[in-house]
Symmetry: C2
Subunit: 247 residues, 2 copies
């Protein structure tokens, strides 16, 4: 374990320490699963108090860079980062941005269309049976009229996650967390009624079959139909609302 215990000048002490440790993790001086010194030891080395060390560690824990365990074999460990661990952070920020009205629905639909089209093409070429089965299972769930709206939305997210996974491209998978975990729920808030659900399921099924048949263009076409449909539903909801408030 190699750390610089140099004092930096700007920012609060806790922030400095957090940055120092983060840097050590990022450039590999601290390896994955390696155990950091105890909080007391860190406090001694940095010449600060333990609560301050803890504040620094909590910042890193919030970024899923480290994790702490209690007990004699406990301590603070460098986490193996996983894309899923990022999803929370990304989702929070993206949700906030959407809630604040930073994006409009057309931007979101465009971004979905373009990025998911990539996934469709790669999925058509690279998918395995695993992902097809996962998508099938979600479609089955979505077809069941007994599933609640919340479950339907969650299933929809999982369906699209499986689609992304089928592209078998790790970096793309990481990027797509933003659209999957934040933009899909936003888009889906539109689709609540049964008949609309039915239509979505039909298009999901078309998408799945296109990918199973390794037909990239058909898959993209199904995706575009799906998004066009959602876009139309959104407009319809808006005008219905406007009509209600006007009447």
């Amino acid at each position: 374990m190699v750390l610089n215990y140099d004092s930096v000048v700007r920012g609060s002490v806790a922030k400095q320490v957090a940055d120092s440790i983060r840097e050590a993790i990022l450039d590999g001086r601290l390896k994955i699963n390696e155990r950091l010194p105890t909080e007391e030891e860190l406090a001694r080395r940095y010449g600060i108090s333990r609560p301050t060390v803890r504040e620094a560690l909590k910042r890193l824990a919030a970024q899923n860079l480290i994790q702490s365990k209690r007990g004699p074999s406990g301590g603070t460990f460098v986490m193996r980062p996983d894309p899923a661990g990022l999803s929370g952070t990304i989702t929070a920020a993206a949700t906030l941005l959407v809630g604040v009205g930073a994006f409009d629905i057309d931007e979101i639909i465009t971004a979905r269309r373009e990025t998911e089209a990539i996934c469709c093409r790669l999925a058509a070429a690279n998918h395995t049976q695993d992902e097809l089965s996962a998508m099938e299972a979600e479609i089955a769930l979505q077809s069941d009229s007994a599933t609640s709206d919340e479950e339907f939305c969650a299933s929809d997210v999982r369906f699209h996650r499986a689609l992304v996974r089928a592209s078998r491209n790790g970096p793309l998978d990481l990027m797509m967390y933003t659209v999957i975990e934040a933009f899909i729920p936003i888009t889906n808030m539109i689709v609540v009624r049964m008949r609309e659900r039915q239509q979505v399921v039909t298009l999901h099924r078309a998408l799945l079959e296109a990918i199973r048949g390794r037909d990239a263009e058909a898959a993209v076409a199904a995706l575009e139909q799906l998004l066009d449909y959602l876009r139309a539903m959104y407009s319809a909801t808006l005008s219905a609302r406007a009509a209600r408030s006007a009447g």
Copy 2:
């Protein structure tokens, strides 16, 4: 300001409090720029100590959800989330994933090719003079043989950021932070020698001119040339290294 001060059962107290406040922010009970109660007040309301409150707040601060200021008019404020604020978190995780060898170079190049192609197409259609000027400025900097390798890489990142911005699509801009801030530096570690820099600049220039001329296909072609070149450089570096270690 409305908060639930209910006690939740799972997780450490600090984590619970952080989650409680985060939830309040995400579903809008705490609005942007709104000021939270003082740390002392929060401690009183949640029935916990101030250090624990601070740990919770630091977790949120690490996610750029809140920010603290000192002084009488100070306090803890809900931040307006901006995509740039996320870049740090995303970059950290992606860099770590790359460093751990979770992705290979071909995956990264594929992801770059597909996602940046989207940006090229949208940029060709939607760009403004602003982004063109920014790209031009970076090309000028990159052409200067006096710029150091570090500056060249940083400039390259800014060039691609401007390209993404030129697509004028907020959600896409958010997503692309991953590829811009993490994958480009990785890819660029390859390009260090002067002649290679020259070639990159030439292709950047071609890309810029294609977008200026609103020629989406030409822009995509330039991008593909750029990535093919980087891929070839990578292979060359690898075989050179293999030859050295063999000889």
